[in-house]
């Protein structure tokens, strides 16, 4: 199984762990991740305005590379996933954006959303299968009470992202179960941590992060996992009222698979 | 051939059947025309060989109206037509005894002539050799080179409806051509090229009605083109709607019912490739509604009297 892989800028710098463990685990699961050559930053945030074309082009380039390689595209970072998936949806369904983006790109064959964008978690659920994953676990994380933090970008808008039920998701809980640990369901797992405003208004980010961590703690969580470097940073640095470890989901995956 | 005569004689003698519908030699030794034999006339002249190309199924409409039982020699491709006639209640199956006969593809006299031979006196088939005697001398042709066009794309060699059949393991030994290749070639043209193609072809029509008369599906009690009350009838070769649309209307009438026996094109004195109209419908229906071959059985609903809720919208055509 070969997939095109888009790590994104943060995974190359501040979130090397997220990337490294994702690669190691994939290898252990028999999945080949081929990094897209000369990829560019996705921009970190999906430009919502109809007339924002230029800011979507780097994503289109990435998507087109995967198309040319004939692979589905796998991402790990929630933000990159969100941006790529939504730009891809625009290219497939929004004629205005598609036409203009293609005019800029001058590709041999116009890009029209052909690439399938998968989050690493979807790869685990839909390609590997959580039952299969369970069989490959060598260090089951027995007894560990882990809370999954989805945040906003993985789930919403559900019409485009289509990862899971946006109000009552289960993919990360099933993932935690597959690793042998006990998932902790808490109401704020899909509420915003305030990551985007950490530069703008740290107090707001602090308030939101504490709310998330407090909610997880109240349900008895011992650890929080996330797929987003920004959430990770925010929960760790702004969620200071709670002393709950926050790690990338790939880290516990690598640990359970014995490749950490 | 000998087996066939024996079987027919037996059935006629023991009273199973009263008449026999088969072929007899015509004016020339290589001419074969449909003929009815009975006890009185005997089987003299009855012949079954590579020149027996006519589809006999349609003759059964009239034959099965008569008293007594008629035995028919049924080639594989003609049996599809018979099944359609049974399905549409055009023949009385009870009064027909179907003796399936094998076919190793038929030889086209037109193709023999097209090799440039003239003054033909006699044509004889010996194994894979076709020996032609002309006033200028003798020539031997390879059978494979002079097979009927319709046999080159033959559906299969199975008689689909029969009371008894005579088997043979002889084959023509040819590689069958893709039945849809000609249609695909037309599809690949530009609309204007296609229009010009059809215009030039259909303009040749002399409205002799041979295609209609030979077609086992075109068996209406009264054809719409002969019926003054339909508002579309026409007999003369006039430039009217009817005239213009004759072949299109005919193709539409047999759509979903045509067995692709190829007789229409074979009998056309103007060599209009009429089968390409019918075959286009077959191809389209296969692609859109699932594979269906009219005449395979006498029960299945044809694509135009069936539907699924998920059928493609007509716009599928112009979105191509």
């Amino acid at each position: 199984m070969v997939y095109s892989y888009y790590p994104g800028c943060t995974l190359k710098t501040k979130a090397k762990d997220l990337d490294m463990y994702a690669r190691k685990s994939a290898e252990a699961l028999g999945i080949t991740l081929e990094e897209i050559p000369e990829w560019q930053c996705c921009g970190g945030v999906y430009p919502q305005a109809q007339d924002e074309i230029a800011t979507k082009l780097s994503s289109v380039r990435t998507l087109n590379s995967a198309k040319e390689a004939g692979n589905d595209l796998v991402t790990v970072c929630s933000a990159c996933h969100h941006v790529l998936k939504r730009v891809n949806d625009d290219m497939a369904n929004n004629e205005y954006i598609r036409t203009r983006a293609n005019n800029y790109m001058e590709l041999e064959e116009p890009y029209a959303g052909e690439t399938k964008v998968l989050h690493y978690l979807e790869l685990l659920r839909d390609v590997v299968g959580f039952d299969e994953l369970k069989k490959k676990v060598v260090n089951p994380l027995k007894g560990k009470k882990i809370a999954a933090y989805y945040g906003c970008l993985l789930l919403r808008p559900s019409g485009v992202m289509g990862l899971d039920d946006p109000e009552d998701p289960s993919i990360m809980e099933d993932f935690i179960k597959a690793l042998g640990a006990t998932p902790v369901v808490y109401p704020f797992r899909n509420e915003c941590c305030g990551g985007y405003v950490t530069l703008q208004d740290q107090s707001l980010a602090q308030k939101k992060s504490n709310k998330v961590l407090g909610s997880a703690e109240a349900q008895g969580a011992e650890m929080v996992i996330t797929a987003c470097p920004l959430c990770m940073y925010n929960l760790k640095n702004n969620g200071t009222e709670h002393d709950l470890p926050v790690v990338y989901f790939t880290e516990i995956l690598a640990e359970a698979l014995g490749v950490k | 051939m000998q087996g066939i005569i024996e079987k027919v004689t037996e059935l006629l003698d023991n009273g199973t059947v009263d008449r026999v519908l088969a072929w007899k030699a015509g004016e020339f030794s290589y001419d074969r025309t449909p003929a009815v034999f009975d006890k009185e006339s005997g089987l003299y002249g009855l012949v079954y060989d590579s020149f027996c190309v006519n589809n006999l199924s349609k003759y059964l409409i009239e034959e099965s109206k008569k008293d007594g039982k008629v035995l028919v020699l049924m080639k594989p491709c003609d049996s599809y037509g018979l099944n359609m006639l049974i399905k549409e209640h055009r023949v009385d199956r009870e009064k027909i005894y179907v003796l399936g006969v094998p076919c190793k593809c038929k030889v086209s006299v037109d193709k023999i002539k097209a090799t440039g031979l003239t003054g033909i006196l006699d044509i004889v088939e010996e194994g894979n050799d076709i020996k032609v005697t002309t006033v200028y001398g003798d020539t031997t042709l390879d059978r494979k080179d002079v097979l009927c066009d319709k046999c080159m794309v033959c559906k299969d060699k199975v008689v689909v409806v029969y009371d008894e059949k005579i088997e043979s393991d002889e084959t023509a030994g040819i590689e069958k051509l893709d039945r849809m290749a000609e249609v695909e070639a037309l599809e690949a043209m530009t609309p204007d090229e296609r229009f010009n193609f059809w215009r030039s072809q259909l303009s040749k029509c002399i409205r002799c009605n041979a295609c209609r008369n030979v077609c086992p599906i075109c068996s209406c009690t009264k054809c719409v083109f002969d019926n003054d009350n339909t508002g579309i009838s026409s007999k003369a070769n006039v430039d009217s709607f009817e005239e213009n649309m004759f072949h299109i209307v005919r193709a539409y009438h047999v759509a979903g019912r045509c067995t692709d026996c190829g007789e229409c094109s074979r009998v056309c004195p103007q060599n209009i490739p009429l089968h390409l109209l019918n075959r286009k419908f077959i191809k389209e229906m296969n692609e859109l509604y699932g594979t269906y071959q009219a005449g395979t059985d006498a029960e299945a609903k044809d694509p135009l009297t069936a539907f699924t809720k998920e059928d493609a919208e007509p716009s599928v055509i112009y979105n191509r």
Binding site: P187, E191, S215 | H89, G231, V254
Partner: protein, 663 residues
Amino acid sequence: MHKIGVFVCWCGSNIAATVDVKAVAEAASKEPCVVYATDYQYMCSESGQNLIIDAIKEHNLTGVVICSCSPRMHETTFRKAAQKAGLNPYMVEIANIREQCSWIHKDMAEATAKAIVLARAAIAKVQLNKPLIAGESEVTKRCLVIGGGIAGIQTALDVAEAGFPVDIVEKKPTIGGKMAQLDKTFPTLDCAACILTPRMVEAGAHENITLHTYSEVEEVSGFVGNFTVKIRKKARKVKMDLCTGCGLCTEKCPMKKQPNEFNMGLDKRGAIYIPFAQAVPKVPVIDVEACLKFKTGKCGICSKVCTAGAIDYEQQDEIIEQKYGAIVLATGFDQIKPTKFGELGYSQYPDVVTSLEYERLMNAAGPTKGHLLRPSDGKPPKEIVFVQCVGSRGQSCRDKSYCSKVCCMYTAKHAILTKDHYPDTNIHVFYIDERTPGKNFDEFYRRAVEQYGVDYIKGQVGKVYEENGKLMVQGSDLLANEQITLAADMVVLAAAIEPDKTARSLGTMLTASMDTNDFFTEAHAKLRPVESPTAGVFLSGMCQGPKDIPETVSQAGAAAVKVIGLLTKDKLLGNPCVAHSDEMLCNGCSQCARVCPYGAITYVDKEFRVPGPKRVETRRVAVVNEAVCQGCGACTVTCPSTAMDLKGFSNRQIMSEVDAICK
């Protein structure tokens, strides 16, 4: 040779302002066979009709063309006028020069030219019209009501009282429907069971009413006045005639772990059960999925304790076939399970309930015997938040687009009843718009606010989550322009109502049309609200759209009146525009029967004299049952020899219109 009269209507200025009516009449008068052409201000008026009648008589007209509004408007009017003048009503054709001409075009020259073409097409067509006489069919004087809720019961009682036999088919083991599950009814607060159960008993005992409970409609064929219906009576495994309804079997059943549907799954019932105490018929039914006897072959306790010997494990489904003249759809509704609204926590928290569940929690016969106790821990709730419009009035994929109509009122009812019984409870209601049109409805809602102090908050709930054992309800208070979070003990969701799931398949069986929400459509939104467009099929209650009990009962009565009107007739006139096969042309090929949706075509072997020595030949030819044919014309196109044609829309008629338009 025809003598055609053409009548051009001005429709006041509706037509005349855009179409030069005189020019149309003038042009029409020059068409072949037209002997008379005129224009008039209002052709549909009495004097307009008289003008037509006089002209027919005076000019011995054999065909009439009216250039006017849509035939869907006044075709019948003009046909009747023609009939008065002694002309066959089907010798009338309408050219639609209003809806399809004057109303959509602005340029007079263009509109006039088009009106002339439309008139010309109608003139061409009418020359090929043939006098048609509608066939007659008998009316079976029996009515089928599908659904045994208050709507079905009321219709059945009204029809039965008029002296016609009625059968009620109800898929549940008892009649009563949703109303039986309600506690009190707004705005009078009388108890639902107290007013419903006498009706149920009356229906069960009525000499003209036959109940088929635990039954479903399997197949419907036929047409107005002559429906044939197959009803599957599912095996109850209990003999109706022997059972005394003592209920001993239900008490002794060891499998008491089945979710009780009647109480919305809030408590349990046995594998053999009577849905509720006042059930009609009061005969239990065995849930074979749950019954130990059926699962393992052992047990048989119910049979042992039944002194009447009514238990019959061998009982099989029974199919009964019955003929009816009219069918009433009263299939009712369901409340959606708001599982897709994860932010409201219905799936996560047991104390988030739907309003129908709340009804059962309030009801004296409910799982808590009428004490309001919350499902999670059985404690009485002190803070209750009601959320309205859950799943109604939306455009997203999880919402219904319509207003469910009854939620505002029942929420006010819940609030009042709760405050009445438990005055120390605090009640908050999140609402978008408070919709209370109806007699004494707004007064009722105001009472909740003013007399009972219910806290109505204009806004919606964004999230419900648990914190410290409380349900935290975060929502907006738009009037205060604030986001508020209330700590509640219970949350009640006024979830949208939707048509019963079985309605769609019934609609298909009956060819009764439905809207995109699966509500049955009425024949006319204003003027024929209780009739389905399919003749002989009537609509009663929620299956046609959201409505409260008084509205349902009124509609049920109205449907009954329509049924009675139909059943009082001995014969019905059919639609004469039906298919007809010319046996001289028919091949007997069966293609037409393959596409007929009504099974109206059969074949006969018929002898024909033919030229030649054999003088007679037998041919198989198609025969159309004109009473069954609805005139769609599917057969006409599939017929290769054009033997099959449609009266009133024949091949030649349509082609003459084509020719006239394309000239």
